[in-house]
Symmetry: C2
Subunit: 117 residues, 2 copies
Amino acid sequence: MAVDLELTPKQKRPAGERCCEPVVYPDVERAQALRMAEVAKALGDPIRLQLVDVLRKHAGKVCVCELVPLFDVAQPTLSHHLKKLREAGIVDSERQGLWAYYYVRPDALKELTAWLS
Amino acid sequence: MAVDLELTPKQKRPAGERCCEPVVYPDVERAQALRMAEVAKALGDPIRLQLVDVLRKHAGKVCVCELVPLFDVAQPTLSHHLKKLREAGIVDSERQGLWAYYYVRPDALKELTAWLS
DNA sequence: GCTCCAGATCGACGGCCATCAATCTACAGA
DNA sequence: TCTGTAGATTGATGGCCGTCGATCTGGAGC
């Protein structure tokens, strides 16, 4: 088999023609990026973002029956959004009799907030 | 037509049986929630979040040809992600000859960061 | 037991998203 | 003008998302 002496495109480009300084990309961020993207994705819907906003401002446990009339979506839809927020670890719920109470988990948004700041 | 004298479910519930304190929801947040959710949605993908991370850490304009080899996706896919970030107002680009340089727009993440903090 | 209600789940629908190969568009160098 | 290249665009595909009506679950009160 013959050795391919043809230069690769990268080798063809003279060193002086670099487009910019090389970018170092630490592998440490991969797992962290996955976690933060999951949180950001959960916040990437207006209704879910407003839900978190209400829960945070209230600083306590809020009944679902108080949340439903605030939004122009059907009850199953709101329940779906609350589930998404729960799966992302942003909120948690607590059942008391017929009613369900939701609250923001402390430190849930900490990592993303720290990265943004 | 007969007048419906049947009480509505809400009226049936005695005042003493409130599930929780009523939640006030300021309408001021609606438009703001839309903008912030758009930004959060753009950050809701691991690759896009890492792209922003690299661009922010580099604190300058980075050539696309330096970004592509950092990720395990094809070049059109990365171009697609950069477009999404551009449409969300998070990054902007600048063409110089064959190369395109991307950078984070100042204040692009300001509103979301302030809300999270 | 029965009925009523709050909330979660299911099933379906339409639409958008992430990905790729293939192609297109400019620009650079010869 | 021709060739090679960087990056954007297109078209197709599979999957996930937001929404709803209908249904299910289980606790409250009779």
